[in-house]
Amino acid sequence: MATRDKYLWGAAVAAAALSACATGTLGDPPGSGKTSGPEMPPVEPQGFKPPAPSLRRLLARQYRSSVRDLLGDAAAAAADPPADSSLNGFDAIGSAQLGVSDDAVTKYEDSARAVATAAMGDTARIATFLSCDPMAPADATACRKDFAKTFGRLAFRRPLDPEEIDRYAGVAETASTELGDFNSGIEYAILAFLESPSFLYQVEIGGVDPARPTLRRLDGYELASRMSFFLVGSTPSPALLDAAEKGTLNDAAGARAAAKALLAKPEARAALDSFYGEFLRLRDLDSVVKDASAFPLFTPKLAQAMREETLHLIDDIVWDQNGDYRDVLDADYTFVNGDLAELYGLPKPAGDGSGFIKVQLPEEQKRGGLLGQASFLSLFSHAAISSPTLRGKFVRERLLCQAIPAPPANVNTVLPTDPNAKTAREKLSVHQTAPACKSCHQAMDLIGFGLENYDGIGAFRTTENGETIDPKTDAAGIGAFDGAKSLGTLLRDQQGVTSCMVRNIFRGATGHIDTPGEEPVLKELDQSFTDSGYHLQDLMVELVASDAFRLVGVVE
C-alpha cells in the first residue's frame, strides 16, 4: 500500500471509513484478508450466523412483473406502484428497512383498483382461476372460495389457510351482492389481494431446518419467492410453487436445479439488467444533466444509447458467451449505434444508425471494458467537466467495496484558483498535498487521473484547455496504468474486485448488507466464483444454493 498517511481529521468521522483512508487499509477486499498472501483452502462455514429476516416490500419493477405474470399485459400496463427508496446503494435494502408512507398506501390502492379493472377485461385468463361459469355460476359461494384459493396461492406465493380463503371470498361476496353480479365480486377480491401485505411484502420467516436443527431455513415457498424475485425479477411461477409444495426446494441440490431453470428463462436477462441499472447507476442516465455548451453532442437519446452499450456488453459476456465476468472490465470490443460511433470517432453502422453493432475498440484510445464506456465516464463527471474524483470514488466504492468518507465538515472545499492550472490534474493538485484532503483524495483521484483522456461524456481527448493531458498514474493497491483498458486489466486480477462483485450480487438478492456472521459462506462463494472461471451465472446459482441465501436467523 502506498497510502500510509497518518493524518487524522479533527472532526469525528465514521470511524471505519476514516481508518480506511488514514491507515491505508484501502485495497483490502472485503472480508478476504489482505490481498497478498497464500490462498486459503475452502473451509467449512464455521461461525456462520445469518441475520434475522425482515419483510421486504416488492420493488416497483417486481410489483409490475408480478402483476403481469398473475393477470396479463393489460393489467400490468395499469399497474402504478409507488417508487422505491434505496439505502446503501440498493432499492432492495431500502425495501427491507423503510416503512411505507400514507401516500404509498394510497398509491397501492389506486394501482390495485386500476389493475383489477383491467384484469377483468381478460376473461380468458380470469376463467383459469374459476371453477364455474361466471355468467351462470351454479354454486357462487363455492366458486368464490375456489377463486380465493387458486388466485390467492399465486398472489401470496403460498397456500392460503381457510380463514384467509373465507376472508377474500367474503370480499367477493359482499361486492357481488352489492353490485348484483358475480364478476364484480371477483374484481373486488383481486383488488383486496393486491393491497394485502402478503402480496406487497416478501415474507421471510423461516423455520427449523430438520436436517440441521440448530439452524433455520426459509420454507419452500419463501425460498421460491426469494430466488424468483432475485433471478427473474418476478413472482414464482405455478411450477415453482408446485416444487415448493413437493419439498424439492428444501436442500441445496433442489435449490440449485430450480435456480438453473430460472436462469434459462428470458426474464433472467431483464432482471440482471435491472440489477446493473442500480449497481452501475445506469438508470441515472435518464436524468443526467450536461452543459450544452461544453457537450453539444449530448442528448437524452445519446444517454440512453450509453446505457444500452453497457448492458449489451454485460449481456454478451454473461449470457451469450457465458464467459469470464471479469471481461466486463477490459473487453477490447463494445457495442455502438450511430450516435455512440460518432462520440467515439468510429465508423457509423450501416442503416439508420439506431441498431447496435459489435465493434473492435481502436487501440489508440486505450479503451476497454466498462471504465472506457461513455455511461460510466458521463455518470461520474460533472455537467461541464470530467471528475477524476467521482470516477475514482466509484471504482473504490462500487467495484472494490472500499468506503470513502465524506470530506470533513467545516473544511473549505473550494479549490484555489490558479490561472496556470489547465488540466484536471493541475486543478486538483491541492487535494494531493493538503493534509486534510490527501489521504482520501489520493485514493480516488489517482485512479481518475488515468482516465483523463476521456472527457465529461466519454469522448477521447489528448488536451484540456490547450494543454496536453498526462494520463499516467499509479493508484494505491491497484498499480500503474494509463487509460481504461490498462486499469481494467489491473482490476480484473484483484481478488477485491471479484469478492466485491459477490457481495454486491448478494446485497441486491437478499436486501441487506452482508454481516460478519455470513462471511464464512460468502468466502466459499468467492472460491466457487473463482473455480467457475468467474461465470456470473454459476455464481448466481451457487448463491441460491448456499446457506447464506437459504437460511435465516431467528426473528427478533
Binding site: 446503501n88 468506503a403 473549505n412
Partner: protein, 448 residues
C-alpha cells in the same frame, strides 16, 4: 388574485366502523365569534406550518443583516421579502448542534429540520447512506394536529426541483420524515398534488366507496395476523402500514369538502428543453398550499424547493451546471448568490400568497408559520454554524410581530427555533430533538 369562493354545507362527516369522521371546514365569517379571532364555539382558528427547504446554503456576506431588531435592513439575498418583511424574523448566529460535524449536508438538513442527529448507515464496505434520527418538525406538528383536529390529509409533501440526490439515503432525498424508517416522498407534479387534495371533491359513487373500504378491512386483518409473526421493527412497519390504510379508509368515506373547487393547475413540472420550470412549479405549489390551508384540507406542508446537494441547475441565473458544483468553485460564487436570490423570490411568493388570503380579522399568514432552512450555512464549507433560518408568519399571534433580525451571541441551538415553531401548533410541546440537538428552551427572540 382571484378571491377564493366558499360555499357552505351543513355537515362534513363520513362513517367508519360506526364512528363519525369529521373533516375540517373552511373558516367562514358566519362561523366566527364576535371578535373574529375564533370560532363561535371558542375553538381557535386553525394553525398551520410549512417547512421550506432549499439546498446548499447561502452566501453569508450577502445574507446576514447588520442591523438587529425590527428595523433590520433587507440584504441582497433577503431583498425579495420586501412585501412581507413584517412577517419575517431572520435568525443568524445559531448553531445546528444536532449537526456536529459528521457529514456535510446530512448534518445540516437533519439537524435544522428535526433537531435529531442523523443516523449513519455505513456498514464498512458498502455505499454510505443516512436517515433522519427522528421525526422532522412538520411531522411532529402533524401528529399533534391529527390527535386534536384531524384534517383530510395529515400533511402534504411537495417538491419543486426533481433533481434531488437519491444515492445517499432518505436524509438527502426527502424533507419530511415520520421517523427514521418512514421518509415521506415529495410530490413534484403540481397537478398530482392538486388531485391529492381536491380529487375528493368529485362526488363518489356509494357502491365503490363502501366496497373499497370492505376490501381494505380484509387487508388490515391480514396485516394484523402477519404482525404476530414478524420481528419488532417489522411490527412497527406493519403498524404504520395499517395506520395508513385506516387513514385511507377515512379519506374514501369523507364527504367532499365545502370549498369551491379551485381550477386545476396547468403546470406539471416537465422539463422544457432540459430546463426545469422551477419558478412556475414553485408558484403552482404555493397556490396549492394556500388553497389547501383555506379549505383546511391539511395544516402541515413541507416544501423541498431544491434538494440537499442535488443536481438543480438554476438556468435562469445563467448557470449551466448544477448548483452544488458551483458552491465548491471559488469562481462561481456570484451564480450561487443569484440562485439564493431566486429561491428567496419563490419563498416570498408563498408568503405573499398566504398573506393575500383573508381569514377572520386577518389573513392565513397570521395563523401560519413558514419555517425556512437549508442544509449548510454556505455550500462551500458545509458549516452547520449560522445556517440560514427564517421564521415567517405570526403563528396565530404567538410570534413576534413585526419580525426581527436576531443574531445570537450565545451559541443558541437551531432546535430552539424548531421548538418555538412547534409551540404555535401544540402549546403543550416542551422539547424537540435528541442528543446533541436536544432543546427544551424555545427561542426567546421569537416570542410575541
Amino acid at each position: 388574485m382571484a378571491k377564493l369562493i366558499l360555499n357552505r354545507r351543513t355537515m362534513l362527516r363520513g362513517m367508519l366502523a360506526g364512528s363519525a369522521v369529521a373533516l375540517g371546514l373552511p373558516t367562514l365569517e358566519a362561523m366566527l365569534g364576535s371578535h373574529g379571532t375564533a370560532f363561535a364555539d371558542g375553538t381557535p382558528l386553525p394553525r398551520r406550518l410549512v417547512t421550506w427547504f432549499f439546498g446548499n446554503g447561502v452566501r453569508l456576506d450577502r445574507w446576514v443583516p447588520k442591523i438587529q431588531g425590527a428595523g433590520y435592513e433587507l440584504t441582497e439575498e433577503l431583498a425579495p421579502l420586501a412585501k412581507v418583511k413584517d412577517y419575517c424574523s431572520v435568525l443568524t448566529g445559531f448553531n445546528n448542534k444536532a449537526g456536529y460535524g459528521r457529514r456535510g449536508h446530512h448534518d445540516g438538513v437533519a439537524g435544522a429540520f428535526s433537531g435529531y442527529p442523523f443516523i449513519a448507515l455505513d456498514p464498512g464496505n458498502s455505499n454510505y447512506s443516512s436517515k433522519f434520527g427522528g421525526p422532522s418538525i412538520d411531522q411532529v406538528a402533524a401528529t399533534a394536529i391529527a390527535k386534536k383536529s384531524p384534517t383530510y390529509l395529515p400533511s402534504l409533501q411537495l417538491g419543486v426541483s426533481k433533481r434531488v440526490t437519491t444515492g445517499e439515503g432518505p436524509t438527502l432525498q426527502y424533507l419530511a420524515h415520520k421517523g427514521p424508517d418512514q421518509p415521506l416522498p415529495s410530490e413534484y407534479n403540481p397537478q398530482v398534488a392538486f388531485a391529492k387534495l381536491f380529487g375528493s371533491f368529485v362526488p363518489k359513487d356509494d357502491h365503490s366507496t363502501k366496497l373499497r373500504v370492505t376490501a381494505l378491512d380484509a387487508v388490515r386483518e391480514d396485516a394484523k395476523r402477519l404482525q404476530m409473526r414478524v420481528g419488532a421493527s417489522d411490527k412497527m412497519r406493519l403498524e404504520a402500514h395499517m395506520e395508513s390504510i385506516y387513514l385511507l379508509q377515512k379519506q374514501i368515506l369523507a364527504i367532499p369538502p365545502v370549498c369551491m373547487k379551485p381550477g386545476q393547475p396547468v403546470e406539471n413540472n416537465k422539463d422544457i428543453n432540459g430546463d426545469e420550470p422551477l419558478l412556475a412549479v414553485s408558484k403552482a405549489m404555493a397556490d396549492i398550499i394556500a388553497v389547501a390551508f383555506a379549505c383546511d384540507l391539511t395544516r402541515v406542508v413541507s416544501l423541498q424547493q431544491s434538494g440537499s446537494v442535488g443536481g438543480t441547475v438554476y438556468w435562469m441565473t445563467g448557470a449551466t451546471v448544477e448548483e452544488h458544483g458551483l458552491t465548491h468553485d471559488a469562481n462561481q460564487q456570484e451564480l450561487v448568490h443569484q440562485a439564493v436570490v431566486f429561491n428567496m423570490g419563490c419563498y416570498a411568493y408563498l408568503l405573499e400568497k398566504l398573506k393575500s388570503m383573508p381569514e377572520g380579522p386577518g389573513n392565513i399568514l397570521d395563523n401560519s408559520v413558514v419555517y425556512l432552512g437549508s442544509d449548510a450555512a454556505e455550500g462551500l464549507t458545509h458549516s452547520c454554524f449560522d445556517q440560514p433560518v427564517i421564521v415567517a408568519g405570526r403563528g396565530g399571534g404567538d410570534l413576534v410581530y413585526p419580525g426581527v433580525h436576531y443574531r445570537s451571541d450565545s451559541d443558541e441551538n437551531t432546535t430552539d427555533v424548531l421548538l418555538s415553531v412547534l409551540k404555535t401548533i401544540d402549546p403543550t410541546a416542551t422539547e424537540v430533538g435528541a442528543d446533541q440537538g436536544y432543546s427544551n428552551t424555545p427561542c426567546k427572540a421569537l416570542t410575541a
